[in-house]
Symmetry: none
Subunit: 139 residues, 2 copies
DNA sequence: GGTTATTAGTGGTTGAAAGTGGTTGAAAAC
DNA sequence: GTTTTCAACCACTTTCAACCACTAATAACC
């Protein structure tokens, strides 16, 4: 299961470190795509293939948008010996990533965020709605 | 699987570079045809033959239009030593391709777009519909 | 608790591959 | 026979992946 929050800086060459714990979970090669709310999604090959299969089976009307969104933006990523990755420029632009970056575990995927955006998202998470949902779950 | 987004300029002689990653997948020779939404489709010979078979099996009424659309516009493409391709003028006109071009991976085919058109298509992808479909898929 | 060993993270260099521009020569068109 | 076109090269530039070397942080051990 992917959990945790990790902060890094992107170096002048566009490389960013990628948390070793998440790397271990994803194995040597994985997929980065556009995600929701202008973050990037990171999938293991296994999860990615599942998603691809599901998208294939969608009715045409929904499939086209999903295909363009995910396949169009997807990139195979292989970290270098030091565990760094290089994110394609179009994805960096999409996610507003320039310098400070956060990698966040999210169950079956990881997410990459512009740090400021991430902070904002966290602030906006209303404590009440969380509490409410917890109650629904019986916790 | 064909994925990713790659940007190039068409040079004064009408040549455009073609991404090596997609070239590798398609092998030495492939097919370009008119596609949906005024883009161009790029198929591997294998996929192309499959499509041709499928079209053959259609009921006559539907087959004629499909045949005219796909076979009529199809062209075999062989990249030069540097990996560039030359797109026939009728296809360039169809897709409004003049200078800035994007090549996009889409699972079993690639698409070639006028850059501005592609941007527009991406912008029009509604975030809600993507989110909704994701939820349906259980991601 | 302090020292050492190990792993995580950062910066920089280099060489191969990807990408771009231009030239030439054969074939087709006039 | 001349001109035009275009595929096939050649040469150059840029990019980026693969290293190497170093520092910081963490874990293990005495």
């Amino acid at each position: 299961m992917l959990i945790g929050e990790y902060s890094y800086n992107i170096d002048p060459k566009g490389r960013m470190n990628f948390p070793s714990k998440i790397r271990d979970y994803l194995s040597e090669i994985f997929i980065v795509t556009k995600g929701l709310d202008n973050c990037l999604f990171v999938f293991s090959m296994e999860e990615w293939n599942k998603l691809a299969e599901d998208i294939k089976r969608l009715p045409r009307s929904k499939a086209v948008a999903m295909q363009r969104f995910y396949f169009g933006s997807a990139q195979e990523i292989i970290p270098d010996k030091q565990g760094r990755i290089l994110i394609p420029i179009n994805l960096r632009e999409y996610a507003n990533i320039e310098k400070e970056v956060v990698v966040v575990g999210a169950l079956n995927r990881a997410e990459i965020w512009n740090t400021d955006r991430w902070k904002k998202v966290c602030d906006d998470l209303s404590a009440e709605s969380i509490a409410e949902t917890m109650e629904e779950l019986g916790f």
